[in-house]
Symmetry: C2
Subunit: 119 residues, 2 copies
Amino acid sequence: MPSLLIIAHGSRRAASNDEVRALADAVRAHAGATYDHVETAFLELAEPSIPGGLAALAAKGASEIGAFPCFLAAGTHVAQDIPGAIAEFTAAHPAVAVRPTPHLGAPAGLPAAILGVAA
Amino acid sequence: MPSLLIIAHGSRRAASNDEVRALADAVRAHAGATYDHVETAFLELAEPSIPGGLAALAAKGASEIGAFPCFLAAGTHVAQDIPGAIAEFTAAHPAVAVRPTPHLGAPAGLPAAILGVAA
């Protein structure tokens, strides 16, 4: 069974990184038998790093990892920085298959959710 | 009727900024009679800026503007930079009421959406 790494930007504010970890907890609770493990990693400013998060999953026995950029739009971080960090890991761990997934983007229902939050 | 400014980070990649504009189009389509205008602004790297986006709405006659941080977690940008940019506008336009809204965060349904995107 694959594992999932939820990749967020990371912040100097601990509360922001905790929001991401809480989101991962919710994803884990919804995942059922889809994933062995669901963990978080951060592009910068927080731990674990992307290579570190991938290595932690590999240490738990994960041999197939979906790498999910939890970003609303595909800027430079999604297009370049995250693939670069994944490549850094895979060069050192060729036996672990890391599958980059599409970024979050704007899922169906997000416009309605925005109107709920902003109202 | 109030207007809504959707505030995103902004990117050097035009496609990323266009994703945000498409999201705003979808919010506008869902907004019905909730808002007079729904526009976008960017914290950095893209136009209009936050003060520029607020001024554009004021030029359309908006006297009450919800300022919505379209960010998944409340890092430094949400906690400090966006309020600072709003304050820059309101100092120059005291007749326009800018109401900061909560940031996007993780709306209900986002964990399920993530599992759909990452699968």
